[in-house]
Every structure is written in structure tokens, then in C-alpha cells.
Amino acid sequence: MSEHIVPVRIYVTIFLVLLVGTALTVWAAFQDFPGPLNNIVAMSIAITKATFVVLYFMHVRYSTRLIWVILAAALFWMAILFAFTLSDYWTRDWISIGY
């Protein structure tokens, strides 16, 4: 399997997308969206930007399945770390064992 050479056009596009994303997220930060929407918008933009970097700058789009698996594993383990730790904090108040 020989490597895929990503055309310059794509790199430039991604670069511009990232800049626009940055501007967008700064703008969105000053808007008062209802509820937790501010956080959701900011995180969605960050995840989108990161996805573009990973897929194109880091060539994952053109990589073997193994790289996808490795990346998925890393995210999965991050999710474990977060979900299980936070599950403790979320449910501590459900039954008053103190605190």
C-alpha cells in the first residue's frame, strides 16, 4: 500500500475552514444562548476543527484501518475515564451517604 499524496487544494481549504471555525467560536462565545447551548456550540466547533485536522492534515482519511482503530481506541478510553469517574460524582447525591 503506497501512501496517498493529498493535493494542495485540500490543505488550503482545510486551513481556511479552521480559521473560519476559530472566528465563529469566538463570535459564538459572546452570544447568550439558552441553557448549556454555549458550551455545546463551542465544543461542537472544536470537535469539527479537530476532526478536519485529523482527517486531512494527519492523513487519517487515507490511512489504513489500523490507524482508525487506534484513534477510536484512544477516544474510547478517554470516554471510559470520563464516564466512569463522572458517574461517581453524578450519583453521589442520589443517596445521602454523607458529602
Binding site: M1, S2, E3, I5, V6, V8, Y11, V12, I14, F15, L18, L19, T22, T25, V26, A29, F30, Q31, D32, F33, N38, N39, A42, M43, I45, A46, K49, A50, V53, V54, Y56, F57, M58, T64, R65, L66, I67, I70, L71, A73, A74, L75, W77, M78, L81, F82, T85, L86, Y89
Partner: protein
């Protein structure tokens, strides 16, 4: 994925081929895979800090917003732009190596290095501002403990800490500790990245990389992009969330 040439004869003995690999393809594959696995460890490393951030932001939202609002959003945004641009030049450096264009390759590497250093410079300015405002948490800097001046209602002095409702100075200190831990660790990775770029530039000037052998450029590129991604998350988490509360 791992079907290699079956013979031990190296048909094309590239000078950069190490003795224990069968061919350049296997060597390149190993290098890339190795870097990806290293990046997994990096994700988990930062993961611990992101977890602490998430937890305490959930517990002390007002204090975190107060601390966040004190950060310099302009410098933060400019730095984000600088880092994205450096990521772009890094990607282009890989591209030019792949197609064998030597001069643009060197140029892109140098540009990446300069942008990386610019990022660190701006970061240093920000750190210095925090130092002036006595916002370095704990006794991280001996003799200059965390002791910001709290602004009273109506006071707009940007050097004073503007506490939102429900925020305490103590919890703002927690925000700044997490801020310094995360950005500090990120900056540390940038410094390592800058060192790696210098190595690339030197070897690139000696024309060590060509379309057949450019694993180092590619692999260090991956690392550089990863550091960029970390910042893509740090910027909104540290600088932006809670901004709307302060401005209403």
C-alpha cells in the same frame, strides 16, 4: 496490512533503511504506527487534566467563568490562528517532501518553526500578564503567591479580578491552576516540537529526505498536528466558556 516482500534480499538498499527492516515500506509503516500509538498515550496524558477540568468546572462554574473572563481573548484567538497556520505549513512541508521539492520543503519547515516560536512568545506575554496580576496559583512562583486584587462592583480595571456571582477567589485559583497545568503542559509539548523541527530543518538542509524516505517529516508532522489539536480544545475551554455570562 503486513504483507511484506518475502525475501530477505533488499532489492533497493536505501541508505536510510535500518538493518532489521525488510524494506522501506515496512520501516515507514512502523514509524507512522509508532507515532500514532505515542499520540494515544498523549491523548490519555492530557485526558487526566481534561477530566479534572470538566469535574471542577461542573462543580464551580461561576469561579471558572470569572477566571476565564480574565484571560486575554485577543491574544488567545491570535495564538489559535498562529498555531493553525503553523499546522498548515507543517502539512505543506510533508507535501513538498512527498513530491520531492526541496526548497519549498525547507521553507515550510522554517516557517513552522517560526510560527511555533511566535506562539510560545505570545504565550509568554500572557503568562507575564498573569504574573503581574498575581494570578499564578499557589506558591508556583516563590515570593509571588496567588493574590489577585478583586474588583468591586462597577470597577472596570482589567487587571483586577472580576468575580461573578457565586464565585470565590479560592475557586478561581483552582481555575488558574488547571489553566497553568494545561497550557504549561501544552507549551512544553510545543518546545519539544520546536526541537524536533530544528532537527528536521538541519537534516532537510542536508537533503536527507526524499520521496522514498521522509518518515521523520511525516511522523513529526503528526506530532505537531496533535499539539495543534490540543490547543483547539484548550482555547474554547479556557478562554471562551463563560464569556457570555460576563458580557450578558
Amino acid at each position: 496490512m503486513t504483507t511484506h516482500a518475502t525475501t530477505a534480499n533488499h532489492v533497493h538498499g536505501h541508505p536510510a533503511l535500518q538493518h532489521h527492516f525488510e524494506n522501506m515500506e515496512q520501516q515507514r509503516e512502523a514509524g507512522t504506527l509508532g507515532m500514532w500509538i505515542f499520540l494515544v498515550t498523549e491523548i490519555m496524558f492530557f485526558g487526566g487534566m481534561f477530566l479534572a477540568y470538566t469535574l471542577y468546572r461542573g462543580l464551580y462554574p461561576a469561579a471558572f467563568a470569572s477566571g476565564s473572563n480574565h484571560l486575554n481573548i485577543t491574544l488567545g484567538a491570535v495564538n489559535t490562528g498562529v498555531l493553525i497556520l503553523s499546522s498548515f505549513t507543517m502539512a505543506m512541508a510533508v507535501y513538498f517532501t512527498q513530491v520531492g521539492k526541496h526548497r519549498p520543503q525547507v521553507f515550510c519547515l522554517i516557517a513552522t518553526l517560526i510560527l511555533g516560536l511566535a506562539f510560545l512568545g505570545i504565550k509568554a506575554v500572557e503568562y507575564y500578564d498573569k504574573y503581574e496580576d498575581h494570578l499564578i496559583p499557589g506558591k508556583l512562583i516563590p515570593g509571588n503567591p496567588f493574590d489577585p486584587e478583586v474588583a468591586h462592583h462597577g470597577d472596570t480595571d482589567p487587571h483586577k479580578l472580576h468575580l461573578l456571582e457565586n464565585a470565590t477567589v479560592e475557586k478561581v485559583e483552582m481555575f488558574y491552576w488547571i489553566y497553568f497545568a494545561m497550557t504549561g503542559m501544552h507549551a512544553f509539548h510545543m518546545i519539544i516540537g520546536a526541537g524536533l523541527l530544528m532537527y528536521l530543518i538541519i537534516f532537510s538542509l542536508r537533503r536527507r529526505f526524499d520521496p522514498e524516505y521522509h518518515s521523520p517529516v511525516e511522523v513529526i508532522g503528526l506530532y505537531w498536528h496533535f499539539v495543534d489539536i490540543v490547543w483547539i480544545f484548550l482555547f474554547p475551554l479556557l478562554y471562551l466558556l463563560g464569556r457570555h455570562v460576563g458580557h450578558g
